[in-house]
Every structure is written in structure tokens, then in C-alpha cells.
Symmetry: C2
Subunit: 306 residues, 2 copies
């Protein structure tokens, strides 16, 4: 290690320590929605908060059970992300090299996708892990029939930021789906409707800790039945041609509680569990790793506003 690098590491360690000293070691929990000004103070400090039961009065919280969702959406076509292991948009080792794998995306009737997800969630079937996670404003697109059950925008954020949401997304999956550590360039209001979500949150300042690498972009593809020992449920990760490299945190906080570098010991991870009806503000550029647990009917579903 050169002197330059050692000096840089000391500076980064000091930055992380200062952040930890200047900020609370927990995430604030509010018992009601903040005013726009109170919200803006969190935005200004780039700090998350949770509102326990913040979505309890949404029609979605009352209505969204298996029967209602299937009756409302029926056989309308939806985009479903499939992986053999629940790890979409994640780092995979293949032939001794790391690649970044996106899920196989397929369109299928909602009722079929919902049946697969919940049957798998209740342990009744085996097979690929399916996750409805398009994140393309899908609640005002393929799930429009559900939009009436959630607010058109989150009033405190809409007033504070003086803009309507760019996207309102519906998420549906079972406990097998995990979202790898990543960050988004959006202020995010997240509401858990059914099941639970388990977040590991980290402030943007920890960027030097996450072992970001440029990895080749791959995608799961169907490669027919058997014959290839690398195929799971007929799926195989295929590096896309021409090769595109994407920057990805390669540290997996589930495998190693601290990143494998000298800065790891200075890192603070905030654990947040959202129960049914809880809301969370996740500031732009915060790292998050997300697991979920199905609710009483075997599925987890959420709504978020970007």
C-alpha cells in the first residue's frame, strides 16, 4: 500500500467516525405523519424515519388480501421477474468470475403469477422464485386497478418537495426474494401493506466500504430442461453481448456482517423491520439491502413512491 493510499484510508476512516459521532445510532420512529417542514428537515439532514402504522388508513391496508388482488387484477398481464434462488439484480460467481445478474422477465396473467408466488410462499411448490418488481411506475400502469387503494401522492412529501411522485410502484413476492445491497437516486417513501420487509440501511458516506466493482451484466435465460449442470429450473445466467460493465457493491451484508476491508469496522448498519401498515422515508442515495417475509397468505406486498 502506498503512502497516498494509507493517507486516503485514514481520511475515509475519520469521515466515517465523524458521521457516526454526529448522527444518531438509530432511525427515528414517528407516531404520525410529519408536516412538510418536519419532513424537509429529514431531507436536509439526509436521514430516514419510520412512521409506525402510517399506512393503516389506506384502503390498500384494509383490502389487499389474496382474494381481492386476484379478483381485481384477474388475468391481466403483468411483468414477473424470475430467478432460481430469489437473488435478482445480484452478484453471482460463475466460472470463478463475478457477474451481475438481472432476473428473467416474463409476462404472465396476474392470477397465475400470484398463484405461483403464494404457493411457493406457503411451501406448497418448488420452482423459480418470482417477484413482481418492475419499478417503472407500475401502479399507474399494469396495476392501475389497485391505484385507487393508495394515495395518489404522499401529501407531506408532495408539498415539501413541491413535486408529484415520478413513480408509484407495487411490489409482490414471497420470503425467498432478496434485494441485494444497492442505492437509488430518489427520495423514497415506502409502505409495507402485507407481510414484512427487513431492511439493512447504510448512509451514503459508507460508499468506500462496499467494494464496488464493475461487473459484466448478465441475465437469467431459459435454456430448456436439464442437460446443463449449471441450469437451475431450466435457468442459466448468461452474460449479455456486447459485454456491458455495471458498477455494483460486491459486499454482501448477509454473508459478512462487515465488509472485508479496513474501513468496515467504522461502518454503521441500521436494521429496520417494517410490519404491515408501516411507512418509511428512505433518503436518496442510502444503501439498502432488503429481505421479506410473507404474511398470513404467503405473500409480501409493498408500495413505494419515488
Amino acid at each position: 500500500m502506498s503512502d497516498d493510499t494509507a493517507g486516503l484510508e485514514r481520511a475515509l476512516a475519520s469521515l466515517l467516525e465523524n458521521y457516526n459521532e454526529l448522527n444518531a445510532s438509530y432511525i427515528d420512529e414517528l407516531d404520525q405523519e410529519p408536516t412538510p417542514l418536519q419532513f424537509m428537515r429529514y431531507v436536509a439532514r439526509n436521514r430516514p424515519f419510520i412512521i409506525r402504522g402510517g399506512a393503516n388508513n389506506w384502503p390498500a391496508y384494509q383490502r389487499w388480501n389474496a382474494r381481492y388482488l386476484v379478483e381485481t387484477l384477474g388475468d391481466s398481464p403483468v411483468n414477473v421477474a424470475s430467478t432460481p434462488n430469489g437473488l435478482a439484480d445480484a452478484v453471482l460467481s460463475q466460472d470463478g468470475k463475478q457477474i451481475f445478474v438481472e432476473p428473467l422477465e416474463q409476462t404472465e396473467p396476474f392470477a397465475d403469477a400470484f398463484k405461483s408466488i403464494t404457493a411457493r410462499g406457503r411451501g406448497e411448490i418448488d420452482g423459480p422464485v418470482k417477484y413482481c418488481q418492475t419499478q417503472n411506475d407500475n401502479l399507474r400502469g399494469e396495476y392501475l386497478a389497485l391505484m385507487a387503494d393508495v394515495p395518489a401522492s404522499i401529501a407531506f412529501a408532495h408539498v415539501a418537495l413541491d413535486r408529484k411522485p415520478d413513480a408509484v410502484n407495487f411490489w409482490l413476492g414471497d420470503g425467498a426474494s432478496t434485494t441485494a445491497l444497492h442505492r437509488d437516486n430518489y427520495e423514497n417513501i415506502y409502505a409495507q401493506i402485507r407481510g414484512k420487509k427487513h431492511f439493512l440501511l447504510m448512509a451514503p458516506v459508507i460508499a468506500p466500504c462496499v467494494e464496488e466493482r464493475s461487473l459484466p451484466l448478465a441475465r437469467y435465460e431459459n435454456c430448456g430442461d436439464g442437460g446443463d449442470e449449471k441450469a437451475d429450473y431450466g435457468m442459466k445466467a448468461v452474460v449479455q453481448q456486447p459485454v456491458q460493465y455495471v458498477p455494483v457493491p460486491t459486499w454482501d451484508p448477509l454473508k459478512h456482517s462487515k465488509p472485508p476491508n479496513s474501513l468496515g469496522e467504522h461502518l454503521t448498519t441500521y436494521k429496520v423491520d417494517l410490519e404491515e401498515g408501516d411507512m418509511m422515508y428512505l433518503p436518496a442515495m442510502w444503501y439498502h439491502h432488503v429481505r421479506q417475509t410473507g404474511g398470513s397468505e404467503g405473500f409480501s406486498c409493498s408500495v413505494n413512491y419515488w
Copy 2:
């Protein structure tokens, strides 16, 4: 240069370029005070703004002329910073080494200090440059008699930040005083009452450009008349014992419009001139270099809220 350092410089250049692309190349000018929420949006984005004429309805704007100030404060003792050249809290080269020099601080009757400052400002006398700049909440201390002429707090900031100002400061000097490039860890509301202030502003992201060094702390001291060829007006910069090192930007934007390093070309400097009655919000940690011009009576005075 090692590969590590070259990689770091590329990353920093890219950071500066991204900042420039994502932010306006000018400072917003408002024609009235913002609401607390509008203000908080600027705080959240860490961006300054100017309110032209924002202090025009303050009693200070109507009242503060030479006669009123001298009549109100009379011979009450005030702290005055003196330097031979107007460069207080600045980098000085002495015996081939850089040092950081604080001014000589002396207490004198306000009327005397005011007379020196304005006579020098009108070019009637020569001598040390005096600047009333204690920045220790002096408007609620030695200048308390003037506090009734300014708001106790700036309403939009008080409501938005949910706190009263930590300090309200009065600044009085002539055109010879310059404040070197520095930054403060405070949200700052600045009002120009008499004369003009000429700011060079730079966002916190430019920190790697400013050639920060740890320099020995010195202070101007009176060393009697003549005899020492380094003395100006009987003043000499003396390194304090035991030696303390303070971190200081050594780049002087008046001498070199861009800093002498490879990052300088990516740096954006915002020029802001405040006229009598103008207000400015300067976010915490923004770099600023400040010059001033005396008004019709030869002095410049300002008020700021931290």
C-alpha cells in the same frame, strides 16, 4: 504520481463535473423572503440564495449612518482587529514559510475605532487596517445598543430550522479589509446594511481544490516603532508558542483565479455582490472569500445570523 493518486484525481474531477452539471451556474435571486418550507428546500440542496432588498425594512437600514452609530455606541469599549494590510485570518509568507496570521485584537472606544475606520476609508489617514469582526454574538454583547434595529431572528430560518440563532454579529470595516477563503460550520443569513460586500462562493465539494495545509498559527503583535524591517505600522506577525497547527486553504482566489492543481479547471466560483439592503443565505460549509467597499460615509457594515 502513483496509480492510486491518479485514480483518486480522476474520481474527484468527475465528482466536481457532476456537481457542476447537476447544479445551476448561478445563485438564485429571490424578490421576497422565502417561506420556511421554501427556505428548507435550499438548506436541503445546500444552495445559497440572495434576497435583493431583503433588509430594506429593517430599522438598521434606515438609521445606521455615521452620526447614529457614534451617538448610539459612543465611547463604549469594543474589540477591534488590526492588521497592517487588511488581511486578517490569512496566509502570510514569512522567512520563506507559510503561516496563518490572526489579527491583533485590542479594545478601544467605539467612537475612536469608528473614526479610524472611516477616515482611512475616505483616504484621509494611513495606518493599520481596523475591522470590527468579533463574530462572538457581538450584537447581543458589545453592540447590544444596536440590536433593537435588527430582527431578533430571521423568521423563515427560525421556523424552518426550529431554533433561534446561536449568534448575531455586527461587522464594521472599510474597503481595505479582506476576508480570506474559508468556511464556517453554520447556516448563515447575511445582511448588508451600508457599503457593499463582494463574495466569491464555492460549494463544499471543491474542498480537494483549495490546497489545504496545516500552518503554524501566528498573530500580529505590536513590536514598538521601527527597528525591525518586517514591522508594518509597528506590527509584526509572531508565531504563537507552543506552536499550534491549523488547517487552512492556501489557495488565494484573488492571486490565482483557479487553484494551482489539476482539479482547478473543474471548479465553479460564484460571484455575488451584495448592495445595501441585500440579504444572502450562505449554507454551512460553503467556501467564501469576501471583499468590501465602503458606502458614502467611508464604511461598510453588515449583520449576520448563525
